[in-house]
């Protein structure tokens, strides 16, 4: 087990190195020049050249990459070209909103999707099942920003129940925090929910066809006990897997959601950085994303044991 975890962590490092090199070369080739962005509209070509030199952007690729990796090994992600703030600080400022948003979405999606998926499986072939599947397909078909506008239009402007935009830290109180996250979570979570519901239904159907479920039914256990006690537990592996894969999906969606709802999260930070060519931020954030993604999937793999003791590493 320990060996397995160590091996996986080693693989994680390799993955992150691949990502780092990939992102760095991509940015190096990108035809955007932070110096031009800094100089603004009323500048001359000479001004931009001077600023480039000051920023060290005229150095060859390998020198720049070497410098960056060197600092990285010391835990330094560099400083933003524009704001001159350390990248770690900029990311730190924005961790809470994004983590809040994704966790809340996750909780909300799983709490709804898993029971609904189980229900659909239990009533496979009925109208309930078709309704659930129909809704899930529909949820796949609406771009997240359209959904977000509809939610704002209805709940914030028409009904005035919830705030339009922004984020309040948890330290401001639970309700201010939660109220700013409800609409974004729904907008972000709908696709994800549909995804999990479908997988849950499929996994449950699969398990329900197994012999031991028939045995449990024959023993006279209540259908509910069979469903939640035996079947759901055994359907856990694929469901958990999907939740893990979905994290990347969630981060993609979070970028759009954060833009619409003006939430100062990491997704927004990244898009802004790309549009302005703030290289150190882009590199830092993507590295962070890939690290988190790989770690979550490691956790997912490890959690398989909870559901299926037969799995050994």
């Amino acid at each position: 087990m320990i060996v397995y975890i160590l091996r996986r962590l080693g693989a994680t490092l390799i993955v992150m190195a691949v990502v780092a090199l990939f992102v760095f070369s991509l940015l190096f080739l990108t035809p955007g020049d932070p110096a031009a962005v800094i100089a603004g509209d009323v500048a001359t070509t000479d001004d931009i050249q001077r600023i480039r030199e000051k920023l060290g952007l005229n150095e060859p690729f390998l020198v720049q990459f070497g410098n960056w990796v060197g600092r990285l090994l010391h835990g330094d992600l560099g400083t933003s070209i524009f704001t001159n703030l350390p990248v770690t600080k900029l990311i730190g400022q924005r961790v809470q909103p994004t983590v809040s948003l994704t966790l809340l979405t996750l909780v909300f999606a799983v709490l709804i999707a898993v029971p609904v998926g189980v229900l659909a499986a239990a009533k496979a072939g009925t109208w309930t099942d078709r309704l659930v599947m129909g809704f899930s397909v529909l949820a796949f078909s609406v771009p997240v920003f359209v959904l977000a506008y509809l939610l704002i239009g209805l709940f914030s402007i028409r009904l005035e129940w919830l705030p339009v935009q922004g984020y309040r830290p948890l330290s401001d109180g639970v309700w201010p925090w939660l109220s700013h996250l409800i609409l974004p979570s729904i907008a972000l979570g709908t696709v994800y929910m549909a995804f999990i519901a479908r997988i849950t239904r499929a996994a449950m159907l699969d398990v329900l066809a197994q012999d031991y479920i028939r045995t449990a039914n024959a023993k006279g256990l209540s259908p509910r006990a069979v469903l939640t006690g035996h079947a759901l537990k055994n359907a856990g592996v694929p469901i958990i897997t999907v939740i893990g894969i979905g994290i990347a999906l969630l981060i993609s969606g979070a970028i759009v959601t954060e833009t619409v709802f003006a939430i100062p999260g990491i997704g927004r930070l990244t898009v802004d950085a790309i549009l302005r060519r703030d290289y150190p931020i882009i590199q830092g954030v993507i590295l962070l994303f890939s690290g988190v993604y790989v770690l979550i999937n490691l956790l997912v793999d490890l959690s398989y044991r909870l559901f299926d003791p037969r799995i050994r590493y």
Binding site: V137, S141, V142, F145, S252, T259
Partner: protein, 292 residues
């Protein structure tokens, strides 16, 4: 991961006879197929559907609500939204279909090769893990920034994000198929690798990849819209459902029709493609049906 679930598909390849029968048993798939066919027809026949030049602008005529002259109204530069939506179907469908085709072709090739080459497998899968760990929207934005905005680049960017998923799927299939007795027998008999791949492995990937392809197609069309929203999508003078909506997004409370019409077309098409995918999955592989 999920792909492991798909690994036990039957070795038999589907026949067209079977295909037709199954479709008759799946009305949603037929409905999906019909809607999709209509959309393709609309895209092909765009110039003959009462449209005007979708790029022609007339700022004096801006933001006119739907009327007999402009069926879907006009946008902020006075362009005819009906024509833009109809022509937009070309881009959106092209993006969806090309991404599905390319990512499956590339993913299949890589997956087949890595599934059979142990030393390559480790390297390729790490690279794929890396690609997968970058959120697809970010990857696409970065790629769009790398070159100028064009439909080709949108397709490239989304394809690149989808390829690792296909590779994983195919690799999973290959890894389990190679344990099958008839494949082991072929290997023992000294059949060369390309032949094994071609004869025993490839046919078994058709069904899951067809199904996967429809899902990729659907999600690519949505992703195209999202990229336009972020400003990294199809170039703005070429209409696509995504960028018509994205350009008009700030006006959703004032000129909702600007979002409504392209949105309806997009959702309808994505819905149809998804329904087609679900139906195909049921028809091609009843065992798979319960899985996805």
């Amino acid at each position: 991961m999920t792909t492991a679930v798909l690994t036990e598909s039957k070795p038999a390849s589907p026949t067209w006879q079977w295909f037709g029968d199954a479709f008759r048993r799946h009305p949603t798939a037929i409905a999906g197929g019909i809607v999709l066919a209509v959309m393709v027809l609309i895209a092909l026949l765009a110039p003959w559907l009462g449209t005007v030049d979708p790029q022609a602008l007339s700022p004096i005529q801006r933001l006119k609500p739907p009327s007999s002259e402009h069926w879907f109204g006009t946008d902020m530069l006075g362009r005819d939204v009906y024509s833009r939506v109809i022509y937009g179907s070309r881009i959106s469908l092209a993006v969806g279909i090309s991404v599905a085709t390319f990512s499956i072709a590339v993913g299949l090739t890589i997956g087949l090769v890595t599934g059979f080459t142990r030393w390559l497998d480790a390297i390729v899968m790490r690279v794929m893990d890396g690609l997968m760990s970058i959120p697809s929207v970010l990857l696409a934005i970065a790629l769009m920034a790398l070159t100028k905005a064009s439909v080709g680049n949108v397709i490239l960017a989304i394809t690149l994000a989808e390829v690792p998923r296909v590779v994983r799927l195919v690799r999973g299939l290959v890894l389990s198929l190679r344990e099958q007795p008839y494949v082991e027998a072929a290997i023992a008999a000294g059949t060369n690798l390309p032949l094994i791949l071609l004869r025993h492995i490839l046919p078994n990937t058709v069904a899951p990849l067809l199904v996967q392809g429809t899902y990729i197609c659907a999600s690519a069309m949505i992703l195209e819209a999202i990229l336009s929203f972020i400003g990294a999508g199809t170039p703005p003078n070429i209409p696509s459902w995504g960028n018509i909506m994205a350009e008009a997004r700030s006006l959703f409370q004032i000129a909702g029709y600007l979002i409504l019409f392209p949105g309806l077309f997009l959702s309808l098409t994505v819905l149809a493609v998804n329904m087609l995918g679900d139906g195909m999955r049921d028809a091609l592989d009843p065992r798979l049906a319960r899985r996805m």
